[in-house]
Subunit: 621 residues, 2 copies
């Protein structure tokens, strides 16, 4: 991977930072956040401004350019990748390490007195704006909103914003009509005496209206805003998309069943002026909800006295707790996904000895096999297919120049997933096709112990996911090992593969408590730079747990794995497992064999079935 | 325990809330926080205003009185106690339960429009003021500072503020002179370009000057403030206390060794005006540190442009990491403390069958035995001595009307500790003098498993204590049990038994990472209302851990128990222990036998030695 050459781009950007066409006074620094106007994690090509300026294309990171310096902040998943993708005009700021300054501290340490720091107010979240602005002012600087995005001014062949066809989802997949969801939302609003709610997160809009799109690769969302009132529904979306009769009928655009369920449609761009109009008509005590992750531009339209900024919206919370229809659909998606992966592994065992299988060809094969499954829509994120040292790049994506051949001598890690109409999958398996070393097995077994510790954990109702994070690390910690990423993230139902408000991470305290019906990933790992990477990931469903006692009638929860793909026994040092862990592995493999076996049988995929039966033999303690 | 009758007091307080002698406009609510002007957890009798108004005397809780309502917020340790101590004019607000409103939400829900809420600005921390003020204003109310404390206006026989004799501590106990400490502090200030630091926490002042007092029972501190400049030291303390020649010499009041180490002494009350004077003389860019837990009154003296509010002061951090002399001293204190407890348990075994031993008499006996040890100063907190159902009151303190007799039929819990010149102790043991039930043993064993899980945990440098909290709960959670308090707190060295900035709790994310040399408690428990309480508490020292590998050279940490008192084997269901847990118990008991046995031998305490040897026999798996 060769780094992007950025000398000329930085020169142009620094000129723009002084150009009175865009700004009234020169700015001494310009912040380029990672997201789009909806603070999406994955973004459309037209929004890849941070990648454009520095070359780093990971899913998280913020670039800051000053007159003298250019620096990029990203987290442990991306240290290696970022250092390879950026040229030496850029300084990599490794977040989470003690010696790394925060963006604020770094700016304060290098800016000349009374500096102005610019940012596009549409792509910075209101809470980030607030923190940054406060830190800068207290050091005598100021944060200023630059209305023209300065990257766009130097980006000659910037792609056009997408406007893909919308997919309507029926009750069979959603369990609730969009009308039911709007009514439930209004109930929450009424409870809190809120008269309006500005919906800015793309997955919340998609979930609310039971619509999907493909504006952003891997995430079945579409560019839109919504403003929901107690008796109004305002939807802001490219009007061409509403010409589709299926969409018209789904949204009841011509014949709404009830007046308060009439959707008023507006062009996407008019959200700003329409929100201004709604705000102008507010009665003195009326309150409007907006998420603290909404853009600074939109948040500031709402007068402070009417603004109620919330960390997680009621849609985010409602979406996270899957209803029985969604749970059933997610289970079905995971069964189909496991079928494809069993086929893949059976195929790999045959093909690898030929020496022609590469990281890219496995990723392609995995996509091909998944695409044969019913209701397949696309991948849920770029497949991480990595051999040996590439496995240590946590969010590695094989490129022609990095592509390695699978062999019998190296550890292979594949982290992949798909979007089906009935659900979203995300699974990681780490395997060896020859004989793993004792050290590789030892590390794999620690990771497995951590995976099981979370998956089998029993915990009281009301527990936040971050309290489970250390369970995943204890076995690694005992041996002086660790991994620099969280343990799990929420997973959408035919929606974003990463979603809030729950997760399992040492990094946040603001997660919402886990509830039965939530779906998260469980994915501890271990990475040895230059050698190999190990990760074991299942998507798991939060379910009620039966316990011997029930302290204060709180009830307990645990997890049920939705992912049903064998964990390679060859990689396990069974001497390091407790009896309970042995039993977990055997029970898990029994469930894989029964559930996926039946589907492989039904689909007549004999080779994969043989492979599955072989790989799920019980281990003896 | 009969509740305090508060009808008349509430009537008087509500009158004061409208009395123009104290306030310009009537207030609709008055907040009575728990602390003193230094936000101490334990307080002097003159500061027990919250207890005076509502009757509840636990260490944490906030009372709010409105025209119609009176409510008290406290945490899980005190639910039972508070409900017993308060009459029915008071509503108990159980913090940590989902249905309990925050103080802010509750006020907003019940106050008439445009209400004024009053509070004494000296006893509310600046951060609490800020949060409360923000919440109230956003609902149209306001928080106002009432200079006269309204409780004091109705408290006829309020005790006078204390002014006890000061104790000077030499290098033998402290490892560093106060001059060294001031110099190190100035180094930290210079690093951050800070010219002044207002020290408000009593234990920080005591630690900095190597002085102790007894103004507050159990905490060897004295009422004082300090303002440290790069070349000034201003100490605010009752001037009578400085007449003692030992103190004069210790502080070099007559002949300072260096000009910048000259202490200027001022009366305690003049801190406000002196701070105003220092602030008036500040150069434009000068910055002053003050802790966010300092009083609102003092914080607001510092102009915002000069104010740098910090969550943990450098003194708090320096004090938390014990130096080798302090560690050695703490170990010695814990050996002496264990000697006293071994004697106590040996005595109890003989005395209980006589039927004359009560909760109070054990507490007295424990104090007597501790007082026989060298350098004993006093207790470090009120002894929790509780039989059967009283054990479920987490911070129970036996009173004549609740006093129960120890018997062969009930579980007995004793949580006690002392102040010695060389250190502070805090230990809980739960024992049964007859035959515990299977259920009692089962619960005890889960608690023990949690205790061991923390004590034996290995974790990377930089880990915050809250990440270890779930280890203490996992065994309980598995069976549907839990406890509603944190797992550990920092412990001072001949200082407060509770100190920041580290701890082990699910409740905070703002703790500082654990470092070698820090000392915390490890005290999981289980409480069955109306039946029994179980807690196993050791004070443990953070030490470097040797691990097989060393990921990214971060290094690992673990704990070494300082408390060396046997854990009753009779209470353990050994079938529930893993081999590793068995080994931990045997290793721990071996260390108790060797270390405490030698001291018992030296002190010629034969009966206690026999008891110790009997109680530390290895268990066989």
């Amino acid at each position: 991977m060769s780094p992007k050459i950025t000398v000329e781009l930085l020169r142009q950007l620094r000129q723009a930072m002084k150009n009175s066409k865009y700004i009234t006074e020169p700015i001494q620094a310009y912040i380029i956040p990672s997201g789009d106007a909806h603070q999406s994690e994955y973004i459309a090509p037209c929004d890849c401004r941070r990648e454009f300026i520095c070359g780093f294309n990971g899913s998280a990171g913020t670039a800051i350019v000053t007159e003298q310096h250019a620096a990029l902040w990203t987290d442990g998943r991306y240290f290696l990748q970022a250092s390879q993708q950026m040229d030496n005009n850029w300084t990599l700021m490794k977040m989470g390490l003690k010696e790394t300054p925060s963006q604020e501290d770094w700016l304060v340490s290098i800016l000349p007195e009374n500096s102005k720091v610019g940012v596009d107010p549409w792509i910075i979240a209101a809470d980030q704006w607030k923190n940054m602005s406060k830190a800068l002012s207290s050091a005598g600087h100021s944060l200023v909103a630059v209305q023209d995005n300065l990257i766009d001014t130097i980006w000659e062949d910037r792609p056009a914003p997408p406007s893909t066809k919308l997919i309507t989802l029926g009750l069979k997949y959603t369990g609730l009509t969009w009308q039911d969801k709007v009514t439930a939302l209004r109930g929450k609003m009424a409870e809190r005496k809120i008269s309006w709610f500005v919906v800015t997160a793309l997955d919340e809009i998609a979930w609310l209206f039971n619509l999907r799109g493909s504006d952003i690769e891997y995430n079945p969302v579409f560019f839109a805003y919504a403003i929901i009132g107690i008796s109004n529904i305002k939807l802001f979306v490219d009007s061409k998309r509403l010409l589709d009769p299926a969409v018209q009928e789904h949204l009841e655009l011509d014949s709404p069943s009830k007046p308060e369920l009439t959707i008023q449609c507006f062009p996407y761009e008019s959200v700003y002026t329409e929100l201004q109009a709604v705000c102008a008509a507010l009665a003195p005590k009326e309150k409007m909800w907006i998420c603290d992750k909404a853009s600074c531009a939109l948040t500031q339209v709402i007068p402070k006295s009417h603004r109620s900024v919330i960390p997680y919206t009621p849609l985010c919370l409602a979406k996270a707790v899957k209803n029985p229809t969604e749970i059933q659909a997610m289970k079905m998606a995971h069964i189909k996904d496991a079928v494809a992966l069993c086929e893949l592994f059976a195929w790999l065992e045959k093909e690898i000895p030929k020496g022609t299988v590469t990281e890219i060809s496995v990723a392609d094969k995995a996509e091909e096999l998944r695409s044969q499954q019913r209701d397949f829509v696309g991948l849920s994120f770029p497949t991480i297919s990595s051999v040996g040292p590439n496995g240590a790049i946590i969010h590695y994506r094989p490129l022609p120049e990095t592509n390695r051949t699978l062999s019998l001598n190296e550890v292979y890690l594949i982290d992949s997933g798909a979007q089906y109409l009935d659900g979203t999958t995300d699974v990681t398996r780490t395997v060896h096709f020859g004989t793993p070393t004792d050290y590789e097995k030892e590390c794999f077994t620690y990771v497995l112990k951590g995976h099981i510790a979370v998956s089998a954990a029993v915990f009281p109702n009301g527990t936040k996911g971050h309290l489970l994070d250390s369970f995943a690390r204890a076995a690694l910690w005992d041996s002086g090992l660790d991994y620099l990423h969280g343990t799990g993230h929420g997973v959408g139902c035919f929606l974003n593969v990463h979603e809030g408000p729950c997760g399992i991470s040492y990094k946040t305290f603001a997660d919402e408590p886990l509830e039965a019906g939530m779906i998260v990933s469980d994915e501890p790992g271990y990475y040895e730079d230059g050698s190999f990477g190990i990760r074991i990931e299942n998507v798991v469903l939060v379910i009620p747990a039966k316990t011997k006692y029930n302290y204060r009638n709180r009830g307990s929860l645990t997890f049920e794995p939705l992912t049903l793909v064998p964990i390679q026994l060859k990689m396990i040092n069974t001497d390091l497992l407790t009896q309970k862990e042995h039993d977990w592995v055997n029970d898990y493999h029994k469930k894989c064999r029964e559930t996926i076996g039946a589907e492989l049988e039904r689909q007549g995929r004999k080779e994969a079935l043989d492979w599955l039966i072989r790989e799920t033999q019980p281990i003896i303690h």
